[in-house]
């Protein structure tokens, strides 16, 4: 336990020391929020745009940390034989995965808090209707996307490939799943494609939870299932 805590703390420190990942996970989403919300017309359906955008961009933050930063870190650790050095200690592969996942989840959590703070301070964001539901949805989203990130990190040959794969999953996904553009204004065909991505259930539940709509048990179980399957596959394919 003490080992896990130490590794997580160090991992988080290293992420924050890397200016690029810190910028993209922490500074970029607030920047997007500011750029996107210059006009203030409500969305079709009447929801103020800010109340959709903050939950949406929180998924952007999770995706950035889980699908882009995490796999690149893991692959770089393998390529540079940093994992090899860890393999010669009692650290298990589960500890390495756990620490990577938790550190990147914390990064995403900090990014989300920044977004929310900015929303309240500048944009008149409404408070979430159901805080517990938002936390649950956010956590399940981080779990499922994080597990996919771990799987990418376990499979790719090197850090460059990890970055290419991570970005080419992340960018199309944030557009079609409604993490960048509200689902209310995207075309039906785009929504149909978006619904096939693992990001769509995350966007849907976090937005529902924020607005106070009941969460669909099916969507929640879907996220849990993705986390379980991708997580198990990652553990099985992991190489030091």
């Amino acid at each position: 336990m003490k080992g896990l805590r130490q590794v997580i703390a160090i991992e988080l420190l290293l992420i924050v020391r890397d200016p690029m990942s810190a910028f993209f996970a922490l500074a970029f989403p607030p920047l997007l929020l500011w750029v996107k919300l210059r006009g203030d017309e409500p969305l079709p359906g009447g929801l103020p745009e800010i109340d959709a955008t903050v939950p949406m961009l929180s998924v952007f933050v999770i995706g950035q940390a889980a699908l882009v930063v995490l796999p690149a870190t893991l692959a770089q650790y393998r390529e540079r034989r940093i994992l090899k050095r860890l393999q010669a200690t009692p650290a298990s592969s589960a500890l390495v995965f756990g620490a990577q996942w938790f550190a990147h989840l914390l990064l995403a959590a900090i990014g989300t808090v920044l977004l929310i703070a900015l929303g309240f301070a500048v944009f008149d964001l409404s408070a979430p209707a159901n805080v517990a539901a938002v936390l649950l949805a956010w956590f399940l989203g981080a779990l499922s996307l994080g597990a996919i990130g771990l799987l990418i990190g376990a499979l790719v040959p090197n850090a460059r490939a990890a970055t290419v794969i991570g970005l080419s999953l992340f960018f199309p996904m944030v557009f079609v799943s409604g993490a960048m553009i509200p689902r209310e204004v995207t075309s039906e065909s785009m929504r149909a494609v978006g619904d096939l991505t693992p990001m769509a259930p995350v966007v849907e539940t976090i937005r529902d939870a924020w607005a106070g709509n009941a969460l669909s048990p099916l969507t929640l179980s879907l996220m849990a299932a993705i986390a379980l399957v991708a997580g198990c596959a990652a553990v099985r394919t992991f190489r030091w």
Partner: protein, 238 residues
């Protein structure tokens, strides 16, 4: 007491037979050297014994444990300095030692290791900013941070300046005097001669000679261990 028993170890990488039919025994509290030409299989042996690679055949026992099936238990009790390894560039020396200490059940005091290995001034230096020799010292310290009963040191003093080498020898002897078993891979015959209680010369994946430095020299009618090494491996300077 025998601490390491390797019997007919074989290990291939695809078609390349790195180790075949290698046997050796290391007794508790000795400094055991492994020397041999590049590509002889030394690193492979060390990695099989420390649970980093699965042998294809043969038996390996370290502290009575099988590295294949009792890896976790074994790794609590051994330490390794690897020939090829790294740490994240932004990680600082003190942070690395603190983190690695936390991975063991009964770690050594990492602050003492910091002093012992002359790293105290570098505590806040990042790994990426260290020169080769300082990285090497940090890796030796990391090998010892778990308070191991057996340490594997692959190319112990490669990259160290002459003063650091001598200091390192002294610290390795101190370790042995505390009862720690040391297995060291080295290309420096003066180091092997000065430091090792016994040496195995490995070539083409086998042990071709195993004895005390004095006996190896005497048997080859050589003047030094280096000459004995040339005689044994059939390598001449050309």
């Amino acid at each position: 007491m025998t601490v390491i028993e390797i019997e007919s170890l074989t290990k291939s990488y695809q078609a390349n037979r790195a180790v075949h039919g290698l046997s050796l025994r290391v007794e508790q509290g000795e400094i055991f050297g492994i020397a041999g030409p590049n590509g002889a299989g030394k690193t492979t042996v060390v990695e099989c014994a420390s649970g980093l690679r699965r042998p294809d055949g043969g038996t390996v026992r370290v502290l009575g444990l099988d590295p294949r099936t009792q890896r976790r238990e074994l790794l609590q009790r051994i330490g390794a300095q690897l020939q090829e390894a790294a740490l994240p560039d932004a990680l600082r020396v003190g942070e690395a030692l603190r983190m690695y200490a936390a991975l063991y059940d009964r770690p050594a005091d990492w602050r003492v290791l910091l002093d012992d290995w002359g790293l105290a001034d570098k505590k806040r230096a990042s790994f990426g900013s260290l020169s080769g020799g300082w990285k090497q010292r940090l890796f030796i310290a990391l090998a010892l941070v778990g308070n191991p009963e057996v340490v594997f040191l692959d190319e112990l003093t490669t990259g160290l300046d002459p003063i650091a080498r001598r200091t390192t020898w002294g610290l390795i002897r101190e370790l042995r005097d505390r009862g720690v078993t040391v297995v060291l891979v080295t290309h420096f015959m003066d180091e092997a001669e000065a430091l090792c209680d016994r040496i195995a010369i490995v070539d083409h994946g086998r042990v071709i000679a195993e004895d005390t430095p004095a006996a190896l020299i005497a048997k080859q009618h050589s003047d030094s261990l280096e000459d004995a090494f040339f005689a044994l491996t059939g390598r001449t300077l050309s």
